[in-house]
Every structure is written in structure tokens, then in C-alpha cells.
Symmetry: D2
Subunit: 268 residues, 4 copies
């Protein structure tokens, strides 16, 4: 930390219907007072604190029992906008990195005539997987989904943004989700997206990089602008970050490996 700075961290696991926090510990070194807050507006958990100049380490450990909901194609149907629950409406609108108003016709040309519902979102994910190359270093903190659509490459964040943009352009509420992903080549933060179908938010990951049942939910928002793992208001440099994700045996001593699934899955 080069100058006095405020920090917002989104690195803490959420307690939800599908993940139960068994044990957790957040340590700041030096010891600093912090707020650990739940944002009702977007179901995020934000750790908020102020740090003086000097070295700073944040260390977070958590053991979580993850139990995703696995649904059926029959229930994951599209809901007319006039019947959507009010809390899903904000996720219909364009946002910083997903300016869906700019791509309405493209979305309609590509996906408008497909069967509505879960399979249509799957078609979007397939398009992303086939057309967008997973490439590091071509996108940065200013990159929008339009640029990904034009440039045809990016990382998980860009895949999620473009998927969200297509969904919103088709009048489907869609949001950005930040997770820890077990099963990546290197366990790490990962980004995917959720679409509201039937009566819940279903998870989609067009990168196909890790099995979906191994995702640990951190937070969700309109796009990455709202779900950054760290936002610094001041001047600080990141010297390094290490992330470990591993499968822990359950009470009965069984280690259950995450799995790939083509079933509708929800962790919201």
C-alpha cells in the first residue's frame, strides 16, 4: 500500500441454499478493523477496510459444503418479461461491460429463432466455445463484450460478458458470477454467468474449463464491474496472489470429486 487506501474485497464465500460454510477465517496482516458486509442488492459479500501505507496481506481460508441444485429441461423455461420477479429485472438492462442495446439484431439473427429455454442458452454457450478463442493478455479492465465479439478472443471474464450480453439482448435476465473453481489447470478465481429460467438462476460456463459442481460461489452482479475480487481506492500494488482449491473429505471420510454435467445446474 503506497498511500492510505480503502479496500473492497470480494473473496469470501457466500452462505447460500447450496453452499454451507463449515469453517472460515479472514486475516489481515497488519491487523486492521474491517466490515464484512452482505449487499442485499446483488447478493455479494464485501469486506471493507482502510489501510495505512506499508505491506498488507489478506489471507482467507474456508471450508464449504457445496451442494448444487440439478434441475430438468422442463423447469428451466423462459419467463415472459411481464411475469419476471422484480429482483431479476435489473439484469435485463445493459451494463458497463455488457452493452446489450448495441447488439440486439445480431443476437436475434444468431439465436432468435431457436427454441426458447435452457437449450437456447446452451446454444449461446456453444457459439462462445466455438467462436471465441481463450487467450490471455488481449483483454483488460476496460474490455467490453462488444470488443470480445469483434476480436473473438478473451478469458473467462470475457466469455461471461458476451454470454450475458447475448442473453439480455434476447430479454433473458443474466448476471455475472465469480467463483473459486476446482478443476482448472491451476485452481483459481473463475468467472461464469447465470440466467434466470423457470424460477431460479442457472449457471453457465462457456469456457468448459472446469467441472461445474466444483464451483464455490463468491458473488454476482451486473458484470465484472460489481464483482471484482479487490477494488482499491487509493494507491497500492498487487505483489502476488496464491489460490488453492482442494477437495476435502466429508464427515464420513469420503472425497467427492467435482463432475461435469449437462443438466441444468444452479448454485444461486
Amino acid at each position: 500500500v503506497n498511500q492510505e487506501s480503502s479496500f473492497l474485497l470480494q473473496i469470501g464465500a457466500l452462505e447460500t441454499a447450496h453452499q454451507k460454510i463449515l469453517r472460515e477465517k479472514l486475516e489481515l496482516d497488519p491487523l486492521l478493523p474491517f466490515h464484512d458486509r452482505q449487499l442485499s442488492t446483488s447478493e455479494n459479500r464485501i469486506v471493507q477496510f482502510f489501510a495505512p501505507p506499508g505491506p498488507l496481506t489478506a489471507r482467507y481460508e474456508v471450508i464449504v459444503e457445496v451442494d448444487p441444485y440439478l434441475g430438468s429441461l422442463e423447469e428451466a423455461v423462459e419467463v415472459p418479461v411481464s411475469e419476471l420477479p422484480p429482483e431479476t429485472l435489473p439484469f435485463l438492462y445493459p451494463s458497463r461491460y455488457c452493452p446489450s442495446d448495441r447488439l440486439l439484431q445480431v443476437a436475434d439473427d444468431e439465436f432468435g429463432s431457436l427454441e426458447p429455454g435452457y437449450s437456447r442458452v446452451t446454444a449461446i454457450c456453444n457459439w462462445l466455445y466455438e467462436k471465441i478463442r481463450y487467450t490471455r493478455g488481449v483483454s483488460d479492465a476496460h474490455t467490453t463484450a462488444l470488443e470480445t465479439y469483434l476480436g473473438r478472443e478473451g478469458v473467462c471474464r470475457d466469455f461471461a460478458h458476451l454470454g450475458i450480453m447475448f442473453c439480455r439482448a434476447l430479454n433473458l435476465p443474466a448476471r455475472f458470477v465469480s467463483v473459486y473453481a476446482y478443476g482448472l489447470a491451476q485452481p483459481d478465481f473463475h468467472a461464469c454467468f447465470e440466467v434466470f429460467l423457470g424460477n431460479r438462476w442457472y449457471l453457465f460456463d462457456a469456457t468448459r474449463l472446469a467441472p461445474q459442481t466444483g464451483f464455490l460461489r463468491l458473488g454476482s452482479g451486473r458484470d465484472a464491474a460489481e464483482v471484482s475480487f479487490a477494488t482499491v481506492f487509493g494507491v497500492a500494488e498487487l505483489e502476488g496472489m496464491e489460490t488453492f482449491v482442494e477437495v476435502v473429505p466429508n464427515e464420513e471420510g469420503k472425497s467427492i470429486e467435482p463432475e461435469w454435467t449437462v443438466q441444468p445446474i444452479s448454485i444461486a
Copy 2:
């Protein structure tokens, strides 16, 4: 309505600490069932319905007692990000029309060295008033605050977006507010913005087009994407819109004309 369409209307007055709905009536012709919903996420009220093809009229009448909060410079101070209430945090981030991440240095060059607090936001409003020409027809539904900053002209919505963008770039939570404004050359919908200072959201209107105590709050959001007076999901054409705002005598028979003020004012 050319094809079956879903509608989201944001034309209803909010019931808040500073405005009391005395009487209201919303009529759709033809008679259609609708939901009248409060979005906790952004303190908006949304009327949500589905309409078949054919002519459609929405008529809304409301009598509201408006009683703005008038504060002092002493209380309207800037709050460090580490101490902001959690519900204000989403308004620090860039949004569709206010990509504040793109203009950090400009905001710092222009306003960074000014005294923090209410007077700094006033300086932003003065800048907007002096540098941006109020011009109809140069901006549209895709126009961002960057384009307004570059083009130096726009309407109330553009003034609000640019004000919000500057504030967020300075780490001040800022949001878009939609109102009915009494005192415009033609009473109409109007857009302004709010900044969180001290412990409340203060109102700012850089256009100087109407007295602030005559504003009737409709809703607020990250930017205009979330506070459109009508969003149509389908195919429909707007044939016309008429808006009337007038001062109604109170119970004692007195008509109190809205006034201009330079005091910190809040209607949130």
C-alpha cells in the same frame, strides 16, 4: 402495440420520507392486468404488464405532497470508501452510460485538488453548466457520458450521466434520478443525479432548468439504463405522450411555488 409485448413502466411516484402520495390512479386502456412493483435493489417502482397487439394508452395521475430535506454544508461531507454504507457501494462502479474507469485522470486533473464535500460536487455541476451546451437531438439511447464529455452537448440525461461519471471517478457514490419537474419550460420528465454525502443522497441538477423543490421522484438507478420511463420487450411505437405538472393548493388552500436553492437538498 404491433406485436404481443411486455412493458415495464417507471412512471409512478415513489412513496418516500420526502414525498407522500395523497391520491393516485393508473389506468391502462384496454384494461390489462399489471404488477405494480417496488424494486428493493434500486428503490424503483415498476409497472409490469403484457399487452396484445392494438392501441394502448397508459394514464397516470398522482397528487403528491413533496417535502424535501434541506441540509447544511457541514453535514454534506465526503465519506471514506471504507466507511460507506453497503447499499451505496454499487454506485461507486462504472455502469453502461457512466464508464467512470475511462476518465479517472481527467476527473482528478479537473476536480481532484478541490476541497472535498458538497462544494466539490457543486464545482462539477458548474463545470457541466459552463462547458456542456444543452442541445436536443445530438444524443440517443446509446450515448455514454464519454461522448458527452467529448462532444460537449446533450440533454438532461447526458448532464446527469457526466456528473455521475465524474463523481464515481472521485470515489463518490453517485446515481441517476428520474423525476417529474415542475418549472421546466414544458413540465416533463427530467433527469438529475444524487451523490451520497454525510448520511444521505443529495440531489444535483447541473442543467439549472427548474427549481429543485419542484421535483417529484420517480426512481433511481446506476444510470438511465435502469430508470427508463418505458421499456418495451416486443414491438410497439410511441404515438404520443403528454405530461402535465402543476402546483395544487394544500389543505389550507395555499399554493406553494417550487423554489431554487443553493442549500444541500435531498428527496431520497
Copy 3:
């Protein structure tokens, strides 16, 4: 003319191998001195003058014998960049309205695997005709081909820009051409594009709005920025413009109607 202004007009027919000016007259009212200049850099003809405040009328009449070159698929082949004539090289680069560097992968995905040559450019034109809706009023003087690609609508200028952008992204020299078009619903200025194949610039018009042998060449350039029919440096308003194009009988008294063709055609 509201204030003293300089004008650049590009309304004069070019004398080329394929069009012979039989008679022409340019009148300015009031009578003002002007330069009538040929820009070697882009084969444009520019009328350059200075006008005082007051009404201004420019009237141009020309009779031109048009004799397009009709070639064969065999000769309209792609030329390796290393063998392109030097004067075609500037038309490989991105320009104001055709930022081809932003769309390389899209162009390659869509057209990269097609047979090189005239038929590949025809495929681009077919794509444009099928995917882009001809719509007035959605584009303006700032609209780039990226926006047309995203928005999927525009006018002749936008069709030309997107065609040029695709061609350059495939390493084909391409340029914007301004013409008078006989055979439009209303005879008018029209925009199309040219691609260098074999040893000449071939004409392409993806709008399919008028028969190509009825085009009268005005000028060409990297994009519309260089081939505007009027550029005003000062303050002036266009009160109206009338354009007539008609077929005139030749010396033998025969009127030859313009025709549609699928043959490679060149008027450069």
C-alpha cells in the same frame, strides 16, 4: 452561409478512361472565384472556394459518356501484398470509418476459407445484402463500419464501409467511391466500393439498388471522410439539394439504358 466559410465540394464528374466529359458547367451564385482541383493522391476532384455570409447556390451540370470496363473472373484475381502496385498500398490500412484492424478474426471466420478472387468479394457483398437492413436515420457522420456490423442496418455509405473493412481485413486493397447513380428510386448521390484485383479497381455495390453501368464516378478515397460531396469549414446550413440523373441520347440518337451485371465491372 452564416459566417465566412471555406467550402470543399466534390460534385464534379471525373474525366477517366471510362467516362468522358462532353459538356459541363459549374455555377456559384453569387459569383465567387474558385479552384477546381484534381487530387493526385486519391483521384478526386475538389472545388475549393471561400464564401461570405448570405445565400449561396452551387449548380453543376454535366453530360458524360460512360463506358465501363467489363472484365472476366479469370483476370479479377487477388494479388499478393508483396506484388501490389505502390499506389494501392494505402488502401490496405484501417481508416476513420473502416477500422479493419478491429475485425480481422471475424473476416477470417466468415470469408477466410473461401476461394480467393472476385467470387470472394461477391460473397462479402452477398453477406452484406442478406445481413444488413437498408435503413435511413440510424447512422450519422460519426458512424463507423464496426457500428454497422454490430447494428446490422444502415445506408449505402455504411454498406460500402463494411465491405471495405472486410476486404482490408483480408489484405485486399479497398476504397470508397462516390457516384451519381441512375436507376435509384430517386436519382441521387450513391456510395459503393472498389477492390483492387488483377490489375484494376473493380466496382462493388452491395445495396443492389441501381444498375452498375449507370454509375457516374465522382471520386474515391479511403472512406467517406475523404469523399464528402461538401465539407464546410465555417458555419453554413444546407437548405436543400436537388439531384437529377437522366439518360441522354447519344450522337446517333440512341438512348442506352443502364444495366445490371454480374460480370466484373470497373469504372476507375
Copy 4:
């Protein structure tokens, strides 16, 4: 070279009124046939060749006698657009990286009321020097002058683009110039810009990084799109580049060090 590729190199010194090539040598290894071409359209010299897969080295050596023109403020005056020589007109228009049509009002606000002529362009350079931080790594091959204006940082290419954009917005013909610069911390390619005043193109370098009389002209164009030192049409990777610039004693054995100047200077 990973696949067969065409190359365009702009690394050769120009022979102009102000620089005389005494000796030069261009070697390609492997030995490949090449064209060494002068583009009349923009006074560029382009080396054009085709290379098979495999390692490729281009080595260029030149000894040039540089003799810049040093003019006076009296002659470096602004020319009305109606009297500009035709070859300067293309440099009035917006281009890929200098979309001057987007910033007209800003340019007018900042510089419109200043005394026309050389001192106005100097004021633009001073603005650039004071407001834009010289920073590597924030801009790339897609960065336009709008982004530099917004982000307030960049390298020599970005300084030049923004200077050009301001000048064109004020109706001054301006172009991008590529040089070898003696006197940089590390002698290297360098970018600056030229503005047409009086009857010649004057040189401006807002970075203040090297003495102007030590610039060796390579080429000029609307912007960097046209004056890249190497454009590859195919697939190749740059493994390294070394540049040396040194002062060589003249015939009389004298070494004349380049100098800084505030006089109008031209090397075109």
C-alpha cells in the same frame, strides 16, 4: 516467419530537400527479391517483399546529411482552407487514429480563441506536454487519440495522434511523421507530427524527448496506420530489434551535435 508472408517495411530514409542520403545498404537474410518503392501519395518509401517460413533478418544502414529548414514566426501562418494547396487537403480529414470529427468543440474551447499560426500549434504542444503523461504499456495498436485524450497518458505515437487531432479540428492540415531520433535516452524510432503553415510542413514534437535537428525522416501519413515500420501480411513474430543512431563527422571532420530549437523547423 511462421507462414509464407508479405512484408511492408518503412525503415528507409527518404531523400528530400532537407536530407541527402550519402550511403545506404538494405540487406535481407536470406537474400530475397524486394521492391523499394516511393509512394507519391504520402511521400513514403516502402520496401515490399515476400518471405518463406524460417528466420528472417532485415538490416539497414544509412548515412544521411540532415539540414533542416529553420523558419520564422512571420512565415508560419495559418492558410484559409479555400487557399490550401490540394495535396494538403487529405490531412484535414479524420483518420483511423485521429477521429477529429469527435472533438471539435473541445478543440475550439481549448485553442479556438488563441492567436492563429505557429504559436497556436505551440500551445497545443504545451498542453500535450503538461496534460499527458509519457507512459509505456497503456496504449496499443488499436489506441486512438480519443482514448489518449480521455486516459491522459501514452507514448510518442499517442502524443502525435492527439496533436494531429486537435489541429485538424481547428482546420489545420496535420500529419504523422516517423523518424529516427538521435538524442533519445535510447536512439530509436520516434513519432512526431507536422502541420502545414505558410507554404510548408512544420515539425512538432510535444514529447520534448529529443532535439529536433537530430531527426531523420522516414515517412509521413494520415496517422500511424500508414507509417508503421513493419506491416506483416501473414504470420511472423518479431524476435528483436536493434537501432543505433549516431552523429558522424562530416567531410571536414566536424561532428555537429543535434540541437533543441524553438524556431519553426521543417524537414519535409
